[in-house]
């Protein structure tokens, strides 16, 4: 009895038909269309009576089967059918079934291959050797990135904090000296390290101007390991680093 068949177990109507043909040991090139249609419809009916959702494709195939069946019943007319059109009404369905079977087998064959992450494993992660490298390799920072970092900082400054700090005005020159002494003896410091824990807007602006001045004087290099990452300040020790500066006028256009 075909009624114990669960439609969910089939990928589609072609899969279900292949199953029925095989189960009934029918000849695929000469499918008893009336019988297979009967069994197919019985399954669909059984499913519907259980109030199960049946995908449209299964219903479409049902109507295709009924259509083929009716064409098989019609007597062949010699007049209105030319010879090439005189194809077995089942021919297209048979082609599709054989074609489908081919890919179904191919799918099984694919599944038998040793699959990466299932039977075989590779090093699907960044090796520590490379991770270390990436940290070393800094990209030169354009002005745009600098302005972005500044904007980020200003955004973090609470409104209230800069209203009452007017008495302690820092000059750019003072700040230049401070930065240079902060950098003394160090390989680098981060942009954020320049500031007190909650800097005033004035402090941020002055620091920024001081930094620009130092860059202009080629006493400082600014580098960043990734875009939008932390900006690092390096003391420019010799002339060889001057190329590292990425200060084209274009960059300003984005600020």
């Amino acid at each position: 009895m075909p009624y114990d068949i669960k439609i969910d177990n089939f990928e589609g109507p072609l899969d279900l038909l292949l199953h029925l043909i095989r189960k009934n040991e029918m000849n695929i090139c000469d499918i008893p269309i009336a019988e297979i249609t009967r069994q197919y419809l019985a399954i669909i009916d059984a499913m519907q009576s259980l109030n199960l959702d049946i995908a449209g494709e299964f219903l479409l195939m049902a109507s295709t089967l009924v259509h083929i069946k009716s064409r098989m019943l019609l007597p062949q007319s010699e007049d209105d059918v030319s010879e090439e059109d005189e194809e077995d009404p089942r021919a297209e369905l048979v082609r599709r079934l054989l074609e489908y079977q081919k890919y179904k087998e191919a799918a099984t064959d694919l599944d038998l291959l040793p699959i990466l992450g299932r039977e075989v494993f590779a090093r699907k992660f960044s090796s520590p050797e490379l991770a270390a490298l990436e940290e070393d390799e800094f990209q030169a920072v354009g002005l745009y990135d600098l302005v972005e970092a500044l904007r980020g900082l200003i955004r973090n400054v609470p409104e209230a904090s800069y209203h009452d700090v007017t008495f302690e005005q820092l000059s750019v020159t003072d700040r230049i000296n401070q930065i240079m002494s902060q950098l003394a003896g160090k390989e680098s410091i981060s942009f954020a390290e320049l500031f007190s824990p909650s800097p005033s807007r004035h402090e941020v602006v002055v620091s920024f101007l001081a930094m620009l001045e130092l860059v202009k004087l080629r006493m400082l290099r600014l580098l960043q390991s990734v875009r939008f990452g932390t900006i690092w300040l390096f003391p420019a020790v010799s002339g060889e680093h001057q190329d590292g500066l990425d200060f084209d006028e274009d960059a300003l256009g984005y600020g």
Partner: protein, 184 residues
């Protein structure tokens, strides 16, 4: 440079790469001709294959990659506590159709499978196993699909010619492809 010394360097370079490394890539990094690299790669492959080792050097997706031996899968899973994944039949069928019939459009896939395949197709695109090759010059200009490098890598294929041979059927297969039990 003495070529004798290049073999371990090639070994190291393939080892650190996340994806398969091609002979051209190696030749460029080593500043030698491809003709120097290729025989060394062959040698490395056979070194790993003949010595009883846990790792083999495989040619896949246009490059070379170290992989664990398939028979050790269970141990690897035990250590990493990974459950084995499996492909659904829908995904495998669709993948097979695309692999063997590419370039192919969605309507053709659906005609062959007899079911709507938009959802599976999207999943395969998301998993980067399938890619869009372009658009077909027919009304509606539907997208054309094909398999990706990741597909080759996943199935350990050198290139598309490495796909299992497609069996042509004139009748039902005797040993019918699994039906009911194998669904996931």
């Amino acid at each position: 440079m003495d070529t004798v010394d290049l073999k371990p360097i090639i070994e190291a370079l393939i080892f650190v790469s996340e994806s398969p490394v091609g002979a051209e890539q190696l030749a460029e990094a080593l500043d030698v001709g491809k003709a120097v690299v290729v025989p060394l790669l062959r040698q490395l492959c056979s070194d790993y294959a003949t010595e009883k080792r846990g790792i083999v050097l495989e040619e896949t997706a246009g490059g070379f990659q170290f992989r664990t031996r398939p028979e050790y899968a269970e141990w690897v899973r035990r250590l990493s506590r990974n459950k084995p994944f499996r492909f659904s039949r829908a995904a495998l069928e669709t993948l097979a159709i695309i692999a063997y019939r590419q370039p192919i459009i969605r309507a053709e896939i659906e005609y062959l499978r007899g079911v709507d395949s938009g959802g599976v197709l999207k999943t395969l695109l998301d998993k980067r196993l399938v890619r869009i090759l372009g658009k077909k010059d027919v009304p509606g200009r539907p997208m054309i699909y094909g398999t990706s490098r990741d597909f080759l890598e996943l199935f350990g294929l050198k290139d598309l010619s490495g796909l299992p041979t497609l069996k042509e059927f004139n009748e039902l297969a005797l040993e019918a492809a699994s039906t009911v039990d194998e669904t996931s």
